[in-house]
Chain length 214, copies 2
C-alpha cells in the first residue's frame, strides 16, 4: 500500500516536471534527462512510468480535461464555464500550460486519437452543447458539432495570440468577448440573456457567489 | 537597373528559402546558414537584405496578406473569399505555409505590431466586415471587431488541427464548415443565402466561373 502510494507520487512528480519542461521548451526542446533532473528522479523512475518522451507528452494532453473542474451548470452555461475555467486557470497550472504549449507540437508525438488535444476538448464541450440543444437553449439552425469545433479552434487561436500579447493574462477577457459575440447569435433570447448576465458577474473574477444571482 | 533587378531577385530567393526552412523546422530549428545554403547564396547576401533571422521571419509574416489575392467581391463575401483563398493556397505556397508555421513561434521574433500575424490578418478582414456592416449585410447586434478576432482565432486553430489530421488538406473544408455555421447567425437572411450559395459553388474547387451563377 505504501509502495503504491509512493509510486503514484512519483508518477505525479514526473507529470508535473514534464509539464514544466514542456511548457518552457516545447516538445523538441524537452528531453527525458531534463525532466528527471527537474523532478529529482532517476531515468529508471521515469521509464518505469512512461515508455518515452512521446508517451509522457501524450498523457499530459490526455489528462487536460480532468484538470478543469466539471462545471456545476448544465447546457450552454456549462460549456461557457468550462472555457472560462480553462482560460483562468491556464496560467496557474503547469499541466494546463503544458497542454497549451504542446498543442503546437502535436505533430511530433500524437499518433492516435488518444492524446489529440483538439478531440480531447471537443469531446468535453460536446455533451454540454448536446444538452443545450435538447433543452431548447440553442437556435434550431445551430449545428452542435460545428459549434464545438468552432469553440475549440477559436479558444486555441485566442490562447496563442494572448500568449504573444500578454503572456496569456488577457485570455479570460478574450474568451468572454468571444462568448458575448456568440451567445446572442446561437442561443434563444432567454438563454442568451441568462448566460450573458452570468458572464458579466464573472468579470470581476467572482465566479461563484454573488448577491445578484438570478 | 540590372543591379536593382538582381538585388530584388536575391531578396525574393532569400524569402523563399527562408520560408521553406521555417516551414520545415520552425523558427528555433532554422538558421541563417541553413537558409543561405538552401538559397545557394552567401551569408553576406542574406545579411545585406535582412539584419537577422528574426527580421527575415518578421518580414515573412508581414507579407502574408499580400500573398492572398484581394477578392473581387466586397463586404461579407469578400471576407469569406479571403479565408477560403488562404486555406486553399496554404499548402501550395511556401510563404503562406511558413506564415502558418511561424504563428506558433512568434514569441521568439515578434517585438512589435509589425510582423504580428494576428493583427496582420485581423487588419485584412476588418475592412470587409466594416463594409458588410455599412451595407446592412450583418445583423445589427454583431460587433465587427470581435467578429474579425473570432475569424482569425478560429482560422488559426483550424489550421493547426487540420495540419495534424490531414497535413492541412482538409483546411478548406473546415473553413467552409465554419462559415456555414456562422453565416446564418451573423448575416441578414438575404446576405446569408447569397454567400452560402457561393460557398456551395466553391466546394468543387471551381471558385470563379459557374453556369449556375445567380
Amino acid at each position: 500500500m505504501a509502495q503504491q502510494e509512493r509510486s503514484a507520487r512519483t508518477r505525479a512528480a514526473i507529470l508535473r516536471a514534464g509539464a514544466e519542461v514542456f511548457a518552457e521548451l516545447g516538445f523538441a526542446g524537452a528531453s527525458v534527462s531534463k525532466i528527471t533532473r527537474r523532478a529529482n528522479l532517476t531515468l529508471g523512475a521515469l521509464y518505469f512510468h512512461f515508455e518515452s518522451k512521446e508517451h509522457l507528452a501524450r498523457e499530459i494532453v490526455r489528462a487536460q480535461p480532468e484538470l478543469v473542474m466539471s462545471p456545476a451548470a448544465a447546457g450552454l452555461q456549462g460549456a461557457v464555464d468550462i472555457t472560462l475555467e480553462w482560460a483562468t486557470r491556464l496560467t496557474q497550472d503547469p499541466l494546463l500550460l503544458a497542454g497549451a504549449r504542446l498543442v503546437m507540437d502535436q505533430e511530433y508525438f500524437v499518433r492516435s486519437e488518444e492524446g489529440d488535444s483538439y478531440r480531447q476538448w471537443a469531446g468535453v464541450i460536446l455533451p454540454f452543447l448536446h444538452e443545450a440543444h435538447e433543452n431548447g437553449e440553442l437556435r434550431p439552425e445551430v449545428d452542435v458539432l460545428t459549434l464545438a469545433q468552432l469553440m475549440v479552434n477559436a479558444s486555441t487561436g485566442a490562447q496563442m495570440n494572448s500568449q504573444l500579447d500578454s503572456g496569456r493574462r488577457d485570455l479570460p477577457d478574450r474568451i468572454r468577448q468571444m462568448w458575448s459575440l456568440l451567445l446572442p447569435l446561437i442561443a434563444t433570447e432567454e438563454c442568451a440573456g441568462r448566460v450573458m448576465e452570468a458572464l458579466g458577474r464573472r468579470e470581476g473574477d467572482s465566479p461563484t457567489i454573488d448577491g445578484n444571482q438570478a
